[in-house]
Amino acid sequence: MTVTPAGLPAWSRTADFSTYGGHTDKKNYQAQGVVNPRTDVSAEQFASLVADAAAVSRTADFAVVTFTCRDSTTDDPTLDSYLGMHGVGAAAAPTLTRISDGLVELQWDATYTDPYGVSQAVNITGGGPQAHGSTALAPTLELIDARTVRVHIKNMSDAYVQDKKITLTVTTGGD
């Protein structure tokens, strides 16, 4: 028999402390407090655990991705690193597509599943790019749809630039 976790995966941002078993009236069984702190967990400690877990789940980035553009060869960017709530590494990374010089589109799957197989749609609501290198750049993020973003990589003169390396954080939910 497979257990189905309560609520939805973390990137839905719908979990609160009660999803993890918290309750404002949580109490030690039969009002017996901790007898041995090496073996017992109190209701107060448990409450802290679930509250902090909910806090972290709300604000942790959905994904952190670093890629390097290959505009001079008109190829799609190469993926340098990917950390995602649904998985880590190249296999979990979004599709990287070169649109034009300094313009990259990233598209995630419409849904991802958590380790228990519970599926949740991707709903990107924000994020921000960071340029690498020694030259000042002003990259910006454009939200295309719930699972697609574009990164515009421009210089101080508002002109697109080639072959830059970017780190992008993306967040979901909260809308």
Binding site: P5, P9, Y20, K26, N28, Y29, Q32, V34, Q130, M156
Partner: protein, 418 residues
């Protein structure tokens, strides 16, 4: 079973939830969401102000400590240009040591003037350059900066535990390793409430018996010497009750914990550091079923136990009946095959009845590396132990449709004719 307080000593046992309980569903969500958050939270966040050669660390936090940690190594390269050097390894509160490799970073400038920052990440250094913007021109300038750094996912072979570490050894690596697994938090896809302590814990059951047995001459109040004595004795008896249950659980590999290492050795299951504990239990349980005999049902059920959602179907080519074997059946001197199929000079031996094919598909929740390891290591190990030495086996990706089926359709054997 209630899980909190003095009547619920560790280990916690899941129950139906409620004001004193914790259900498997709630625990599963916590395990899964912790894995998600561990994957993306930054390794560290640093806020600093640069003014000439002076760097002031305004705030610092990494996954192990918080505070104005001034001993972070840095080099001033010039105006608005600082290189930060971070530790190459971190040791957590439990003595777990993980190598750190900074891989991604973001920096943003504070203040009212237009400004940008760039980063360069190399090994464990992050170089931050800040620029003031005016009239479309960026000029290097000292700024107050917020810097976030993410580390790469580490390799399991690089994890060590300090020799000085004492006390409990947490399961799995620390969060900074970015190798989270629900099993590290006690998670498993088949978690259920603990039936034996579902309504009342052993400790409370014994407590009630003790308090009742002592009679009305003794106070029934918990917050008394008698109450404390009753609770202490009840917990002792509860430990005995749990020990008996633990013995029963460890007698089977699927529910073993302390004895899992023994099952791995006795059943000759492949297990390496970093392997998921639940996957090892499944592998042991699958191998254990072979003791029931290599019947078709046991073979199928043991493969299903091992592969879980990755299994699509087990294929066998039987032919019409016993006297009419499948087409590709060659038997030296009885039904000799083409000379080209004779590998040893003693005649060709091929039997589709002796060839088992396992059709699989990668579950959405399983990483490709884990999927391939499941098939090429665990499944191979299992089939090698299960099947007689005269049998061959293979796996193929499904789901399959009509038409030529690699390793299943007869054409595959025919195709080996040079």
């Amino acid at each position: 079973m209630p899980v909190l307080g003095g009547f619920c000593p560790m280990p916690l046992r899941l129950d139906a939830g409620g004001t004193s309980g914790w259900s498997p569903e709630q625990h599963a969500r916590l395990s899964a969401d912790l894995c998600a958050a561990v994957a993306t939270v930054p390794l560290l966040e640093l806020r600093y102000t640069k003014s000439g050669a002076t760097i002031t660390v305004n705030a610092f936090k990494d996954q192990l400590r918080v505070g104005k940690w001034t001993s972070v190594s840095r080099v001033v390269n010039g105006t608005g240009d600082v290189t930060w050097q971070f530790a190459t390894r971190l040791e957590d509160e439990f003595g777990r040591i993980e190598p750190i490799l900074c891989e991604q970073a973001k920096a943003s400038c504070e203040g009212s003037g237009a400004a940008v920052a760039t980063v360069e990440v190399a090994q464990n250094t992050v170089r931050v350059r800040t620029f003031a913007i005016s009239g479309g021109v960026a000029t290097a300038a000292d700024k107050a900066v917020n810097l976030k750094v993410w580390s790469a996912a580490g390799s399991v072979i690089d994890s060590v535990t300090s020799m000085a570490a004492k006390g409990v050894r947490p399961e799995g690596p620390p969060a900074i390793a970015r190798r989270p697994s629900i099993s590290n938090y006690g998670g498993a896809t088949d978690k259920v409430p603990a039936a034996s302590e579902l309504v009342e814990t052993y400790a409370y059951q014994h407590f009630v018996e003790l308090a009742t047995g002592r009679g009305s001459l003794y106070t029934q109040e918990l917050a008394t010497q008698v109450g404390a004595e009753n609770v202490a004795i009840a917990r002792c008896f509860a430990a005995l009750s749990r020990a008996a249950e633990r013995l029963e659980a460890n007698a089977l590999p699927l529910t073993a914990h302390e004895a899992l290492g023994g099952w791995i050795a006795r059943l000759n299951v492949t297990a390496e550091p970093g392997d998921d504990t639940n996957a090892i239990r499944d592998a042991c349980a699958a191998r254990y079923r072979l003791a029931l005999g290599p019947t078709r049902q046991n073979e199928d059920e043991s493969i299903a136990t091992l592969l879980g959602p990755a299994l699509v179907q087990v294929w066998r080519q039987e032919g019409t009946d016993l006297a009419t074997p499948p087409p590709i059946t060659y038997w030296p001197t009885i039904n000799p095959g083409p000379a080209s199929h004779d590998l040893t000079g003693a005649g060709a031996w091929l039997s589709e009845r002796e060839h088992l094919v396992v059709e699989v598909e990668q579950p959405p929740i399983m990483e490709l590396t884990d999927f391939l390891r499941l098939l090429n290591v665990r499944l191979f190990d299992h089939l090698d132990s299960m099947l007689p030495s005269t049998a061959t086996f293979d796996w193929c990706l499904g789901p399959l449709s009509a038409g030529f089926l690699l390793d299943i359709s007869a054409l595959d054997f025919t195709g080996i004719i040079p």
